[in-house]
């Protein structure tokens, strides 16, 4: 049978009726038009959190957002987007490439500096506009409760007598790694064997199971894990922390290392200074609110606020502290991707060989598909692509685009059914499209604040 593409399309009369219907819908979906000439901010601000939902940074961001919403400090919504991965560099890269218009903000702690000195990314704080520093958490060095090491000194003695035998769990390239590096650097002869473990929970598992000897935890993590058999050797502050006065500082033990992890807010390089200052003011007011103060206290985070020159000085100090260490880590791994590729190739060939041997048996696999059906798939594919492009690149309103998409796809796929029951089927498709089109708009735009 000859294939004519035309047979796939609904007839013209129905289409024109559809368009009149759609015209009625348009005012509904355009309720979110922004008036570009209003003062900053006149559209939603995206806050990129480069870690997973629920982790320390995400919780912190949500506490601040709640305070901003509560006190109505911003006329526009602050939309949190989690972009986790690779020690925060996935998210930081994303913000670095964004337009410097004040509508994209990054929340990233000291990892932005350590990542640079780990040399896996080639940029650091200098490629962003620092907005503010808010909240600091203390760090401790911890071991298993049954560990033979009673103090940081003990641990370091062993690490210098038998260098490269004392294992230290870290998230390579992140502050937990650099703390270990700074301590061995300060001590001089000690040398840890760093093991790439992961986030706080992963490091807890490794210490608890006895697979790794020591690690660094934030104070909040340490207090959470302590009842399950974790013991702190040193607190990395200038003085003992009031919450845990029993833990001696590293300085008391002769190791002059202090470390605090600060949450910084960044905007892309070149963002107008007035927008940076505006947002910094918003953060300052949010930090002063009672709800933020109590919540941070329960998380053992010191509620500091830094901006302007104080922030610049703080960043400079932090940079110097991390700059002095050499994070050289050799991967012990064989080239797994290469091995995998070769194995895949071998088994791919094995499958082909096997199929050739057994080809005479395969007779049932010839349920032929007509060219018309393939054309249908091709046209559907094009429609899906058009749908995605019009949403993401042209940013057309979701309600209208999805209604249109559902209509066209409905008519495309029902050419057979419309021959027997034309009015019923068409009516059903139209109702379905309008209902689901509005539903998508309701759920994704109103409920999830999705910004295309």
């Amino acid at each position: 049978m000859k294939c004519r593409l035309a047979c796939l399309w609904p007839d013209f009369a129905i289409l024109s009726r559809l368009f009149t219907l759609l015209l009625l819908l348009i005012p509904l979906s355009f309720t979110q038009i922004s008036l570009a000439e209003q003062p900053y901010p006149n559209q939603p601000i995206q806050l990129i959190v480069p870690f997973g939902p629920g982790g320390g940074s995400d919780t912190f961001a949500r506490i601040i957002k709640a305070a901003i919403d509560e006190q109505e400090l911003l006329d526009q919504p602050l939309v949190i987007i989690n972009a986790p991965g690779a020690g925060g560099t996935i998210g930081s890269r994303r913000v670095r490439n964004e337009k410097a218009d004040g509508y994209t903000v990054l929340l990233l702690h000291d990892a932005i500096i350590t990542a640079k000195y780990y040399k896996k990314v080639l940029y650091g704080p200098e490629e962003f506009e620092p907005v503010a520093g808010t909240g600091q958490s203390g760090m401790v060095i911890a071991v298993h409760v049954d560990s033979p090491h009673e103090s940081l000194t003990d641990l370091l003695i062993k690490a210098s007598e038998n260098t490269d035998t004392v294992t230290f769990a870290a998230n390579l390239g992140a502050p937990s790694h650099f703390i270990g590096l700074m301590i061995q650097e300060e001590h001089g002869t000690a040398k840890f064997r760093f093991v790439n473990s992961g986030g706080g929970a992963d490091r807890y598992s490794d210490i608890k199971g006895g697979h790794i000897e020591a690690t660094a935890f934030s104070l909040e993590e340490y207090l959470r894990f302590k009842p399950d058999g974790i013991r702190a050797l040193a607190y990395l502050g200038k003085e003992r922390h009031p919450e845990v006065p029993e833990i001696p500082t590293a300085i008391e033990q002769g190791i002059n290392v202090t470390s605090k992890n600060t949450q910084y807010w960044w905007m892309p390089k070149g963002t107008p200074p007035e927008h940076v200052q505006f947002f910094a003011k918003v953060l300052e007011k949010a930090m002063q609110s009672e709800s933020v103060q109590t919540k941070l206290k329960s998380m053992k985070i010191d509620p500091i606020y830094l901006s302007g020159d104080a922030l610049a000085q703080h960043l400079k100090d932090a940079d110097e502290a991390y700059a002095g260490v050499d994070p050289g880590v050799e991967s012990p791994l064989p080239n797994l991707p290469l091995i995998l590729s070769l194995l895949t190739l071998v088994f791919g060939l094995a499958v082909i060989y096997q199929r050739k041997l057994g080809s005479h048996q395969q007779t049932e696999d010839t349920n032929s598909i007509s060219k018309k059906d393939w054309a249908l798939v091709a046209v559907s594919g094009l429609m899906v692509a058009a749908f995605a492009v019009s949403l993401i690149i042209f940013e057309f309103p979701l309600g209208i685009v999805s209604t249109l998409f559902l209509l066209i796809m409905g008519f495309l796929l029902s050419s057979e059914a419309r021959k027997t029951k034309p009015i019923f089927t068409s009516g059903l498709i139209i109702i379905n499209s309008v209902v689901f089109g509005s539903l998508f708009h309701l759920i994704f735009i109103m409920l999830f604040e999705l910004t295309f």
Partner: protein, 489 residues
């Protein structure tokens, strides 16, 4: 114990109960419709749960899981089309029995067996999840690496007809996990796309593989229609005599299902095949299998529901998914900041206990709903595809985008749709691909960690008892499968 009671109390509140019933019903409906699968439903639902509390999201997703494994038996019985792959074995006996004028009896047996299997596996979930989570810190990185490799061998050797194709699919899945960032932070294989720095995200990959490729198949046979056997309710409930005569079969099939579910990597499809084969081999009337055997229906359905509870055990305790749907659940747990492992019962007591409680309650809701509405559900397959498919397609696009607001994920989703379709055309199983894709990073991270801790030595892999045991099991499995393969030829 108290925490479990709290979880049940939580489930009796209106909103959680609503989500549970909604999830179960949606699962059954999707399971009952040939061409829609539970994996598709659940991966499309995950983006919708971003705005929910984690615990509510888990109620919805777990009850969908239970429902979707069960719903397939209706269409399997009345249409000889398994609504989901897990009901494949039910078609062999359910349809002949329905054809012989006993559709009510066939459905009733299937539904009761499903609920029974689900409840048996729930007991094991309750008993084993917490102790296993507690001892999981004892597993060293090398042990976990060996365990994951065993899982990969297992999935490759049992899915699909050809071992080579299974292994090939698994390797291909592993290969697609390479682009992104290596465990120690090097960017690799991204071809300059910075969006790929974090690799392919699980959700767009799964939506592509399971939803898009299925939709393409559905479009290709858009005008195909099935004819359902009219429903009657005679014999819908199992009598006391049935329970005693099927009792041993029920328990054996449920235990087998739970055990298969517990093994990392393989899920409901394999569970029902194994239980069916076991029932046939030990039956007094093996000749009835395939011609409407009651034992066959019971074995297949008890086992496929039992895998659900079993597969949740390694997921909760170790973060290692027991099946494709568990892989999606793992992703959802991460999104809602529920980290499986030793800290789970301490950090998220409500979430994990509610998950466990949901398995039990959803099985009961499932049985009630199916008994009441089996007839209506059979008519679902008459819903025109031209209504259904466009909505699902739109959800695929919006859902992939919603994951992290970038168009790149939509492109990935469509690309994997094409890959999935081609693989199905070439009869290369999808399940090892997904499991390989999910497990490869876990394996690699643990190998790196183990090697860094040992200073580059592989020796602990064979000197420590746990990892050695896993490696021996993996090798034995491989050899057995290859031998079986050659013996058949």
């Amino acid at each position: 114990m108290q925490e479990l009671l709290d979880a049940f109390t939580y489930l009796t509140q209106p909103y959680p109960l609503f989500l549970l019933v909604l999830g179960t019903i949606l699962g059954i409906v999707v399971g009952a419709m040939p061409g829609l699968t539970g994996a598709m439903l659940i991966s499309l639902t995950v983006p919708l749960t971003f705005g929910m509390e984690g615990v509510d999201a888990l109620i919805l997703l777990v009850s969908m899981y239970v429902g979707s494994v069960s719903g397939g038996l209706i269409t399997a019985t009345l249409l000889r089309m398994p609504g989901t792959p897990a009901s494949m074995m039910t078609t062999l006996d359910g349809y002949p029995m329905a054809l012989a004028g006993k559709p009510g009896r066939a459905l009733g047996l299937g539904i009761s067996a499903s609920a029974f299997g689900g409840i048996v596996s729930w007991f094991f979930l309750l008993l084993l999840a917490k102790p296993m989570a507690n001892i999981s810190t004892q597993l060293s990185p090398f042990d976990l690496f060996a365990l994951v490799m065993t899982a990969l061998v297992l999935i490759a050797s049992v899915s699909g007809k050809s071992l080579a194709a299974g292994i090939f699919a698994g390797l291909l899945g592993m290969l697609f996990s390479v682009p992104g960032t290596s465990p120690i932070g090097d960017i690799r294989w991204t071809g300059g796309f910075t969006q790929l720095n974090d690799g392919f995200k699980l959700l767009p990959v799964l939506i592509g593989l399971y939803a898009i490729s299925q939709i393409v198949q559905d479009i290709l046979k858009i005008d195909e229609k099935g004819e359902a056997i009219p429903m009657n309710r005679t014999g819908m409930f199992m009598s006391l005599k049935d329970w005693t005569s099927q009792g041993f079969n029920l328990i054996r099939s449920s235990l087998l299902g739970t055990w298969i579910g517990l093994l990392p990597g393989i899920g409901a499809n394999i569970g029902s095949v194994v239980a069916y084969t076991a029932a046939k081999n030990s039956s007094k009337t093996p000749e009835e299998f395939g011609n409407g055997s009651e034992e066959g229906i019971v074995a297949s359905e008890a086992a496929n529901n039992a895998t659900v509870g079993g597969a949740l055990i390694p997921l909760i305790a170790l973060g290692i998914p027991g099946s494709v749907i568990d892989a999606i659940l793992l992703g959802a747990l991460m999104i809602h900041n529920v980290q499986p492992g030793p800290l789970l019962f301490k950090n998220n007591p409500l979430e994990v206990n509610v998950m466990i409680a949901t398995v039990l309650v959803a099985n009961i809701v499932m049985a009630l709903f199916m008994v009441l509405f089996a007839g209506v559900l059979a008519k679902l397959m008459y819903v025109p595809r031209s209504i259904l498919l466009p909505v699902i397609l739109a959800c695929c696009v919006i859902g992939s985008f919603a994951l992290s607001n970038r168009g790149f994920d939509v492109a990935v989703m469509l690309g994997f749709g094409a890959i999935g379709y081609v693989m199905q055309r070439l009869k290369i199983p999808l399940a090892p691909f997904v499991i390989g894709f999910v497990l490869a990073p876990i394996a690699e991270n643990n190998l790196v960690e183990g090697l860094m801790a040992s200073g580059g030595s592989y020796l602990p892999l064979v000197t420590k008892p746990v990892s050695l045991t896993f490696l021996i099991i993996a090798a034995a499995l491989l050899i057995l499968t290859v031998r079986k393969h050659f013996n058949e030829k």
